[in-house]
Amino acid sequence: MRRLVSILLLLAMLNLSGCGYNTLQSQDEQINAGWSEVQNQYQRRYDLIPNLVNTVKGYAAHEKGVLEEVTRARASVGGLKVDASVLNDEAAFAKFQQAQGQLSSALQRLMVVAEQYPNLKADGNFRDLQAQLEGTENRIAVARNRYIKAVQTYNTTVRQFPSNLTAKMFDMQTRPNFALPNAAAEQAPAVNFNTGGK
């Protein structure tokens, strides 16, 4: 009987702990997957921009300021390091966020300017690009939210007892997360492209 009890106790202990090692691993993988998704969607936006800039140039070539701003912001995003190593480096992560945020603001300004050109707004190509940009911004938002949740789950596991002991053992640390957007600094183009009347 005693043997049975001790075996059961051992099993219970092992179960409780599994020490969260496997949980940490799977949550870590979730983060990597979430990051890939975020990257995909930012890349999608990145790819849309040249077309968009050219279409706007066709109708509003003298809006040089905002067009150049967008091109510059896109170039600085292109120069960023974006592999998974960014996830362990707070500084690189912050830089990434900032660069993407600047691109978002530049795009928003571009769309506001485009509103003033009725011929541009009526252009079929431009309408398609608008739809794609809107969709992409939405997907970025969804990917970011899922990434944020994945990191929160992981960080909680890393910090809670007893899995924090396992985390320390294997040198697993909390990961940086996206900062909640500051309303002024980083607002994805929440532009309503449909202004009722045509």
Binding site: A131, Q132, E134
Partner: protein, 273 residues
Amino acid sequence: MKTLRALLALLLCLPLWLPAEVAVPELQRRVTDLTATLTVEQVNTLENQLRTLEQDKGSQVAVLMVPSTGEETIFDYGMRVVEHWRLGRQGVDDGVLLLIAKNDRKTQILVGRGLEGALPDITAKRILQDLVRPRLRDGDFDGGIRSGVDAIGKVLAGEALPPPAKRSHKGSSNNVWLLLFAAAFLAPILRQLFGRTGGSLVGGGLAAGAGWFMGGLLLALGGFVLGVMIMLLLGSGRMGGLYIGGGGGWGGGGGGFSGGGGDFGGGGASGDW
């Protein structure tokens, strides 16, 4: 006086937030109209159209009309809806939601991951602005929704998707109860004939056979297990308490509409009128 103060203190401690989010309705039908704009016939016609679409292609398309999405954008609200409803088949992710916020005058199409190739953002936008919008402007909500659904159906018709699974009846809880009662009645008889263990196995086998006949392998396996359990329990002479613990779990509420576990990545488009 003391109790009054205590009560007051308690009240002050209660969270006084005002819920700013509009609630996501439970998924019960393919067409959910919370604004009471559509007539019953119109809803039924749409439902039939969507049901046929699911039977033919396997994709789950749903329509939701709400008065307003409150402070959230229609996209954010829509995402909450689809993440709760899980339209589309798991793994295939072929769900589509057509969402209309009547008082906000906003429309939204949300497309499951698996259909983002067939129904890209541009197409969704065109459906909303070119087909749905003019009809909504005229106040023809039924026409607007139908034109949207027709267009979505046409797009899906051209798309090669995994064939829809045969709808097995494992959702019906009635079959399980039938098996259990049969098992209970037969138990003492079989015990007489075959002895305790033998009776259990034969009873289990019969339950399995009935289960297979009624609903496929899953029900058969479940039937076998339950049958054996019941035989063993009742075979010793007690006719009392049917141990029906496990039985209730499967009846999924047959007949209703439920999501298939599909995932949404945020694709689609929004419009207005």
